[in-house]
Symmetry: C2
Subunit: 473 residues, 2 copies
């Protein structure tokens, strides 16, 4: 997920961020009532059946094993779309299709970093998306370190010009992932700020909460008018090593190779539906994103998201026919700039949607539900909270919701739901080679599916038993 990246980049240039501070948080959620409405028996039964789910595991196991990494716009993502169409069709979904779009595709090449003096050694790092490329021979320069973006901004240009900048930070683990906004600054704003000051390149401590030699990739956009420079993340142990080296007070020389290319390419959103009894009723949209970063196999980001939401829709399909159409979208090329979400918004954003929701924060359990349906639909928001509470899910706000691809549409006024996953360990793995299937706990994945199934059961307008579906995978 990269939502915060893009919205921060759109909202404010680094210079104005300095003047204004970061964007103000959304208003505090209204308190839930002391009790919630009774849950209809069919909703509870469908929710509890989904606790035995196997669809989600089968999807994320298959996608990560048979495709693996699927960076947006690449041949691997194209194979993933084919895989998705075949699987969604085999599961019995209707109107399975791909909506294609063009985009620039940034591709990682050889990359390495080496301290030449005073203590020769290699450091583990990986380029950020849209990093400028060095030549294959790399660059060599003195390194200058800063403890924060603020320190970099306060430094005179002369202290930075012609050097490689290092920026540290201290991102903590949080359940709601809120640290990603502030502490992600070195990745999102750092490269543009360093370039404005005349830096040759920038390396930052990974926006991550682990201590493994796996650097965290991530997108960043150079501000308009700024000269792109090579920009990369050091693994957390390597950033700490560099801090120790800098503390010795001797000049530090780094050799940095970050080769990359940009080519035109194609991506697309894969769409599938459970047709509703009332074709004129506003639809429900759920989904995740199909693309991943290139270093891991994209299990938690976001194979789990497409798997969970597709499994939930399948449980509704297995139970019968909902009043409203449920549309499942596997968005393309989210990581490099919400391309799939923006394309869907352009194409479908004016169609009526009863609610939209995305799963893009890992595979750990859902702990809170937020929604934003508007004042006249408070009863529906409370019914949703009631159906989820038995899964150990806290009733949250009813005046806000969030999502990565669907975020701009919610901001634009469409009704939305936010099922918050426990993100305590999400940034241990996020955007690293370690984002692999073994990081998913099947029991927590099933709780997710049950929560999403209950949400669809509540919002879909009632499910009527239909002709028995043939058993398909």
């Amino acid at each position: 997920m990269i939502r915060i990246l893009l919205s921060a980049a759109l909202l404010a240039s680094a210079a104005s961020l300095s003047a204004q501070g970061l964007p103000t948080p959304t208003p505090a959620p209204s308190s839930p009532p002391l009790y919630l409405p009774t849950v209809p028996a069919p909703v509870a039964a469908l929710r509890d059946r989904a606790l035995d789910d196997h669809y989600a595991w089968d999807i994320v196991e298959g996608l990560t094993t048979e495709v693996g990494q699927r960076m947006g716009g690449t041949a691997a993502e194209a194979r993933a779309r084919e895989w998705a169409v075949a699987r969604l069709t085999a599961m019995g979904f209707s109107n399975v299709r791909v909506e294609r779009f063009a985009l620039p595709v940034w591709t990682r090449g050889p990359e390495s970093a080496e301290i030449l003096a005073p203590f020769p050694q290699r450091l583990a790092l990986t380029a950020f998306g849209n990093s400028a490329s060095t030549s294959p021979a790399g660059i060599t320069a003195e390194l200058v370190g800063f403890d924060s973006i603020a320190d970099l901004m306060a430094a005179p240009d002369a202290a930075v010009r012609g050097k490689i900048v290092f920026v540290d930070h201290a991102m903590p683990q949080t359940q709601d992932g809120s640290g990603y906004s502030f502490f992600g600054g070195p990745r999102r704003q750092g490269p543009s700020i360093a370039s404005r000051k005349g830096a040759l390149a920038i390396v930052v401590r990974s926006i991550g909460t682990d201590h493994h030699r796996n650097p965290h990739a991530g997108g960043q956009q150079f501000e308009a008018g700024v000269q792109p420079i090579p920009a990369a993340a050091l693994a957390v142990p390597d950033a700490e090593q560099l801090q120790r080296i800098l503390k010795r007070g001797k000049p530090v020389t780094m050799h940095l190779t970050l080769v990359s290319t940009v080519q035109p390419g194609e991506s697309g959103n894969v769409i599938a539906e459970v047709p509703g009894r009332d074709r004129a009723a506003p639809i429900l949209l759920v989904g995740g994103h199909l693309d991943s970063w290139d270093l891991g196999t994209g299990a938690i980001d976001d194979g789990a998201g497409v798997a969970i939401t597709t499994a939930a829709a399948k449980h509704v399909m297995d139970a019968g026919r909902p009043l409203r159409t449920i549309r499942v979208v596997w968005f393309g090329s989210e990581e490099m700039g919400l391309f799939g979400g923006m394309f869907y918004k352009d194409l479908h954003g004016r169609e009526p949607h009863h609610a939209i929701a995305e799963s893009d924060f890992g595979a750990d359990r859902i702990w809170k539900v937020d929604s934003k349906f508007g004042k006249d639909r408070e009863a529906e928001a409370r019914a949703l909270q009631a159906a989820l509470a038995p899964l150990g899910i806290v009733p949250g706000a009813i005046d806000k919701a969030d999502g990565s691809d669907v975020g701009p549409m919610i901001d634009g006024g469409l009704p939305g739901v936010g099922l918050s996953q426990d993100g305590t360990h999400y940034f241990d793995i996020h955007h690293t080679p370690d984002d692999t299937l073994d990081k998913i706990d099947p029991a927590q994945l099933r709780q997710n599916v049950a929560a999403w199934t209950a949400m669809l059961a509540v919002l879909s307008g009632g499910i009527e038993p239909g002709p028995k579906q043939p058993k398909r995978r």
Copy 2:
């Protein structure tokens, strides 16, 4: 640490292992008495002062920061020896010197693995020491998988010939690290067995207990007469991925590049002493190994070991003058075949040693003490157990001890002590890029130093307050 590797290789060829089973474990420890002798007040006081140790942290922080990786026989290991001589001299040790030896030096080059069919994707791996080299272009072949060494041995040669062999296993976490013997077979015996059967190359699941994309390096020796083949470890998530791919039942093709070189080189043992009052008394030898694998900075293997044992000797020095000389050895080139330990044995193994002991199993707390002094020194063994029990250390055997470099000398009859570290998490990190300073818990490191200090206090024959030592780092 690689002890088991070498002794297993020396004890039995893979073929005879099959016939005889693995080496019989050493006899069960004799039970400790119901109570232990009183601990002399000076021993207890010295032990408890060492719980405030900072020497060990300073050494391992300095060595891993200012030198970093220091593969045996390389220029980096030579820098590490210079660093060691300077530090040991600055700390006030006597007779600081290097005893040099020649050895062949295996050096890792470019390495990668890629599944070409049926599901194209890269896998994370790293070559084992003494792996044969592929050409820079690599090799491409069909892959054949086995769940164990036994399955590989049982397979007809025709099923293996001309293929790349994959061997899996299921090493569990254990406190005493005993799983490393049996479950390490795919690394130690696997390459020779696969080569005898005509395999082109072998990849095995890392001998590790983590789930990170960091493959575990390690030494292995091809048996006499066996054609060396390329041999490597897959990271655990990648081995599991390969298992899933193989389970689809389609032919699997792998492209494998494992480039390496072998050159003559030089290594050495760094030696320092705390001179005893009685120069004729048999000495105490403690130490660890200076070299590391090339992927991490060798913090737990074995920067911690040299740091802990040196710190303990320094605490004795700070307290006064022991009866016996304490000799601290930072062994060179342990990882590739106990070269430093063998060289020390050749040079000094016939000199009288009162006890020898090595720290080479990480930086987690000591949980058990074993010793092997002989029947006439049981009182000394019990005094040692008594001095350590207040640190939460279990009295173990008095008829066995172990160690990596010092192992062959203990086997040869020298008295030895084994201070067992908690190895539950050791093989999460062992021989991977993740062996870095941040994995060391300073509190557990200090408990180690206190245990080693107490051991020296008990065995050194009594410490007489000497002229106050000048305070040195």
